[in-house]
Symmetry: none
């Protein structure tokens, strides 16, 4: 299928840019679906009738724009936007992100000790006089902020959970580090509302 994708040589527009734009329009129009693999670089080079390096230059530009994601040894994939976030008893943020072939990471926005409010106290089976470790966390996929969360833990049971979290950048990994290999959701309650100003800032979102 050589030369089906015509490029103009010495037209004042770099070949790699023309290639990038052709691929980009195919991606944006959905001709190449999110999650699918692009043809290997040597094939593309053959298709466009250029050197592999020229194709690589185009792919790097697409990658910089976040349209594709190149994985060494596997291929180059059209980036999915929007992640199907499956919620079950064993839901883990990292697993959901990893399933979408993206890189999960979390950071600690703030942590403090505070008495639990009624909902938390009942949920965790704590006395209201016991202290809670409250961690506010922000979660990223491929460096883009995706969610913020407020996590409550009985302080007496987790004396250094924050340190483990800071080290592993994951709640699941931090819990594993303190001996909790697995845990289940007891209830999941979902509501929706607009972010307030502080939350929007954390999510780099316009209000």
């Amino acid at each position: 299928m050589n030369q089906s994708d015509e490029l103009e040589r010495r037209a004042g527009v770099a070949l790699w840019l023309q290639i990038k734009e052709q691929l980009q329009s195919q991606i944006l129009s959905g001709t190449i679906r999110p999650g699918t693999r692009l043809p290997p670089e040597p094939d593309l080079a053959d298709q466009f009738g250029v050197n592999r390096h020229t194709v690589r230059r185009a792919i790097r530009a697409l990658s910089d724009d976040g349209l594709v994601r190149a994985e060494q040894g596997r291929g180059t994939f059209v980036q999915e936007h929007g992640i199907d976030y499956l919620i079950g008893a064993r839901t883990r943020f990292s697993e959901n992100i990893t399933r979408a072939h993206r890189d999960p990471r979390a950071e600690l926005l703030a942590s403090r000790d505070a008495p639990p409010d009624e909902v938390v106290a009942i949920g965790l089976g704590m006395a209201k006089s016991d202290l809670c470790l409250v961690m506010e966390t922000r979660h990223f996929a491929d460096g883009a902020p995706l969610s913020i969360a407020t996590n409550y833990f009985p302080r007496s049971r987790f004396p250094d959970l924050e340190h483990h979290f800071l080290e592993h950048h994951s709640i699941t990994a931090a819990l594993r580090a303190v001996g909790i290999a697995d845990y289940l959701r007891h209830v999941s309650r979902i509501t929706a509302r607009m972010p307030d100003e502080r939350e929007a800032g954390h999510l780099r979102q316009a209000i």
Copy 2:
């Protein structure tokens, strides 16, 4: 000056990354000053003992990070950044500029003796009949004008502050010369407005 900048080959770290990091640390430490031109790509390639393409890969990474700016036909320049001007009780113009690895200097635009207006009189605890030394100064970073200021001092306490200022090109140094080793800000009030014609001229600014 070949090989003065040692790279580790096949150390698991790409050569271009090592080059990027060396250049980056020189830029961030101020060894290569903002606004100056980097050596041409062929020279850098020779210096690092690599191919020009490898240097280009490093420069592109720096460019992506906004640390340099490559201009075809002219060269690659270290990007000038605005200066973070920290204001605290012990703020000094020179320190703020020095922290940004730039060269502070101040000059005297005008000086005169005048009675203080009400705000100044109260601020300095002077009688309205006492005289103030009023110094209008202009401050530079690396030769570029950055700010103009009007400074008020009780004349009785500083009989020749102007001369010391002219000698040291710094308010802090002039005060030190008359025995004031340290001083604190009592209040800082910040407002913003457009410059008038005279001010714009001093700052070499278009209105």
